[in-house]
């Protein structure tokens, strides 16, 4: 028999040593693949369609076990019902003996891989005068434009798996949402700092389909939930235009009103420059307002996950985050809880009653001593994201910090740009 014709599956199994027989998985399985006797809960390999519906409701984690098996040798229900413990994974030799070639890929993978591996090099990125158009030298390669007007698939369907409010106060309208989109089995590899396009359904006043709205990704490269093919966005309702006239933003209101289970049409991903450095001891300075925090959240979380796993040596994270008030600042609570030795957080609130207005550039000036050191370190990258009006103030503050430290801003500013170390994304 041709080795490649052996059908391989990742067989879904339940660990009988951990399972508490609570029946949640059986009750929730949409295809009745799970059954039990007085001894064990088991999964029928013939019926399980890898929908993963049982995974998160399981209180024990015993449900999440997988074994590479030739389909014809899959563990039967009877075999599983007799187990006291899970059998070990078959060795490559045992699999080979069953006719399974080394590295054989299962017919269906239960969990979609999410790490990007290469780039097609196409980029669209609008930068202001001081911003770099190149990513830092150690950035991972980004995939872009996998779905869009010029590709075979104009858009890809994502499912909303979460939509929660992340600001504390304000009227129901004046809110910011954290929205999780799941791409199921469709490829959608992303990196921190990239963005995606959302196409609101329906047509505009002149009867044309709405154009896509672009949103920065707020989750790290391996997903809002690690290991899943999903990502998150931070979206604030648009309730007035740039001149302050009342107008309900088509895209943001559509997104904020989505419910779990709804589907959206997505284009992208976009962006090959606003990407984070990946080399050890690289420092990241993040300056943002409002939903400009999305890419900062993504980078911070990726560094946090790396740090937890012991895969990142060191490197400073410094955040300047501006909002009108503390209550309007997205992710305020979670940010407060990050370890101080992991990230240096500086808030600037412009409308706190009884307190003078403070903007991010004011706080940057207060931290000039630390910023000057970081400006001199070629391992430091700066990221600015948020309202257009902050851009000039921030770059001027950087210039002043440099000059006060006796640095030549022309040289420093030029190096930041040409070395892909200052990134501006404002709107």
């Amino acid at each position: 028999m041709d080795m490649t014709e052996i059908h391989v599956i990742k067989q879904h199994l339940i660990d009988p040593e951990i399972c508490i027989r609570c029946n949640t998985c059986e009750a929730i399985c949409p295809v009745s693949a799970i059954t039990h006797d007085s001894r064990n809960y088991v999964v029928d390999a013939e019926k399980c369609n890898f929908c993963m519906a049982c995974i998160s409701p399981c209180p024990t984690g015993s449900i999440d076990n997988w074994r590479t098996m030739p389909r014809v040798k899959a563990y039967s229900l009877d075999a599983q019902l007799g187990w006291d413990e899970l059998p070990p994974e078959l060795t490559p030799e045992e699999l080979a003996a069953e006719g399974v070639a080394a590295g054989a890929v299962p017919d269906i993978e239960p969990v979609s891989p999410s790490l990007p591996a290469a780039s097609n090099g196409e980029a669209v990125f609008n930068s202001a005068q001081y911003g770099a158009t190149l990513p830092p030298w150690s950035a991972a390669h980004a995939y872009v434009n996998l779905y869009g007007p010029k590709t075979a698939e104009k858009s890809v369907t994502a499912t909303v798996t979460g939509n929660v409010r992340v600001t504390e106060v304000g009227s129901d309208d004046y809110d910011t949402h954290h929205i999780v989109l799941d791409f199921g089995k469709m490829p959608f590899p992303v990196l921190e700092g990239q963005s995606i396009g959302i196409i609101p359904p329906g047509v505009d006043a002149s009867g044309r389909p709405h154009f896509a709205r672009q949103y920065s990704i707020a989750s790290p490269r391996n997903g809002e939930r690690p290991g899943y093919n999903n990502l998150s966005l931070t979206i604030k309702r648009v309730l007035e235009d740039h001149q302050g006239r009342p107008v309900r933003g088509v895209g943001s209101n559509y997104m904020c009103d989505l419910r779990v289970g709804d589907t959206v049409q997505v284009m992208g991903p976009f962006g090959t420059s606003f990407l984070m450095p990946n080399h050890p001891r690289s420092n990241i300075v993040m300056i943002c307002t409002g939903t400009g925090s999305a890419p900062m959240r993504a980078m911070t979380e990726w560094r946090r996950r790396l740090r937890k796993s012991g895969k990142f040596e060191e490197g400073k994270l410094m955040l300047f985050f501006g909002a009108r008030t503390q209550e309007e600042l997205p992710y305020f609570g979670p940010l407060q809880n990050l370890p101080k030795d992991f990230i240096d957080i500086n808030f600037a609130f412009s409308r706190t009653p009884g307190a003078p207005k403070r903007y991010v550039q004011d706080v940057m000036r207060e931290r000039a001593a630390d910023l000057a050191l970081l400006l001199q370190d070629a391992n430091t990258c700066f990221y600015v994201c948020g309202l257009k009006s902050m851009e000039e103030g921030v770059v001027l503050a950087l210039r002043d910090v440099a000059q006060q430290a006796g640095l030549n801003w022309d040289a420093v500013g030029a190096a930041l740009k040409t070395e892909g170390r200052l990134h501006l994304e404002t709107y």
């Binding site: 040593e17 508490i20 409701p57 209180p59 419910r259 289970g261 609570g333």
Partner: protein
């Protein structure tokens, strides 16, 4: 229908805003709930961010969303599983008729009683567990305790919603009563005895979540069969949350046993004194705790012969465990069941009408399930090569309800004299000395990844987080 509207004051998936009167009534109840939580909820925990699971919808994708939140900000609310169109009643005298969306007048009093009794247990657990946060054996366990606490609080909401929506003024008064009673309060205690017992230490807590929350599973399973559809749907969703509580208990005891076994092997002893000196909980003490919690819990199923049970079943209010999977006529008239009574110093079985014995049927289902969990604990001992097995005591042991309440029975099922009982009770049930010893081990251990000496770390973290994950941030 399946997703939950979190923008409303009371998160719900029942279109609460369409019923202004109900919404206002629940909004009036809500501040009392919060003030109850402030008064008797987890002590000293208000400022902590806890890695909690919150439901954003009642389908598989949405009901387990994890994130750090302050417990007081947990989104308690009203969540029902999606309804089945044209669901029919599948047992009792109304078999084949359409399930009820409203309470039939003739069953109003009984249904209200069932819902109030179930609802009363939920805040009671929170009250019983109030002080445990101060002595958590790890940050992981602290988080689990808090998850149990907020979900018990939500289960209270589930019952209060039914009372408000379907029982008018009586329902509102009963809902208020749920916040007025207090576990263990001599003047205004909780309805069921087990919920007035103290949960003074973590061994008790694990036993409680293993045994008593498993009782919850069986009661909820029986209610999930109900002809009263809103009750069936809400209890189905509660069951998904209840599973975590049982997990906390089962894995908690398992880890205690594992740690004890490890010390027994290390010190090569089963001497209680030496093991206590080594700071672990000896197996005889664990056995006595099992005896206590098992016997107190099986009382919760009620008297072995009960005309109420027959009425509840025949009228379709409360089914049996896995009613839909059973192959009989689902009417049960003319059938019999064996219950135990004491006669002439002996335990004997007698046949009684099945309908009157339905409490016993549910109790026996529960017992079977409890035993298999204890067998899984025994596997931990087997694996460690320790030739001792734990077991649940005889069903007649230490009973305070039904025909067996007047008799003294040993854990192995012998009827004993008052004198023998008094002489042996300290070997059968936790003595003051046992409780004092267990209490002496309770010290707070909440550094990430650290565990108290008397308990082993879990096999894996919650939501596949590492065991040393920052489950609770103390701020």
């Amino acid at each position: 229908m399946s997703s939950i509207n979190y923008s409303e004051k009371i998160p719900n998936n029942v279109n609460l805003s369409d019923d202004r009167t109900l919404q206002r009534a629940l909004e009036q109840w809500q501040p009392n709930f919060i003030s109850w939580w402030d008064d008797v909820g987890p002590e000293g925990s208000t400022n902590m961010d806890v890695y909690l699971r919150t439901a954003v919808s009642v389908d598989p994708n949405g009901w387990a969303q994890f994130g750090h939140v302050k417990m007081r900000d947990y989104r308690w609310g009203v969540f029902l599983n999606p309804g089945e169109a044209d669901r029919t009643i599948h047992f009792g005298d109304h078999k084949g008729e359409k399930a009820w969306q409203d309470v039939p007048g003739e069953h109003r009093a009984n249904l209200r009683r069932i819902i109030v009794t179930q609802g009363d247990t939920e805040p009671a657990s929170v009250e019983q567990q109030r002080h445990l946060g101060l002595t958590a054996p790890s940050m992981y366990d602290l988080r689990n305790l808090f998850q149990v606490n907020v979900e018990e609080g939500r289960h209270l909401w589930a019952m209060v919603y039914l009372l408000h929506k379907h029982f008018g003024r009586d329902g509102r008064e009963e809902a208020e009563g749920l916040l007025e009673r207090r576990s263990g309060d001599a003047n205004n205690p909780r309805i069921l005895a087990a919920f007035n017992e103290k949960t003074p230490d973590w061994l008790s807590f694990f036993m409680f979540t293993y045994f008593t929350d498993r009782d919850g599973k069986y009661q909820l399973c029986a209610l999930a069969e109900s002809a009263f559809d809103p009750l069936a749907r809400t209890t189905k969703f509660m069951l998904t949350e209840e599973a975590h509580h049982m997990f906390v208990g089962e894995s908690g005891i398992s880890r205690v046993i594992q740690r004890t076994a490890q010390k027994m092997n290390e010190l090569k002893t089963d001497d209680v004194g030496k093991l206590r000196a080594a700071g672990v909980i000896d197996l005889p003490t664990i056995q006595r705790y099992i005896n206590f919690h098992f016997s107190v819990t099986i009382d919760l199923f009620g008297a072995d012969e009960s005309s109420n049970a027959a009425t509840f079943y025949s009228s379709g209010l409360k089914g049996r465990y896995e009613e839909g999977k059973r192959v009989d006529d689902h009417v049960l008239k003319g059938q019999t069941y064996k219950v135990i009574e004491a006669k002439d110093g002996q335990l004997v079985e007698k046949e009684v009408p099945m309908l009157n014995a339905l409490n016993e049927v549910l109790r026996d289902d529960y017992i079977k399930d409890s035993i298999s969990g204890v067998e899984r604990w025994n596997k931990v001992l087997d694996k460690a090569g320790i030739p001792v097995h734990l077991r649940v005591p005889h069903k007649a042991f230490h009973r305070n309800i039904g025909a067996l309440s007047g008799v003294k029975v040993s854990p192995d099922g012998r009827v004993v004299s008052e004198a023998e009982w008094n002489a042996s009770v300290d070997q059968w049930l936790p003595s003051n000395e046992d409780r004092a010893y267990v209490a002496s081990l309770m010290g707070r251990c909440v550094e990430p990844g650290k565990f108290a000496n008397w308990i082993a770390p879990p096999v894996m973290g919650i939501n596949r987080q590492p065991v040393d994950f920052d489950y609770v941030r103390f701020n």
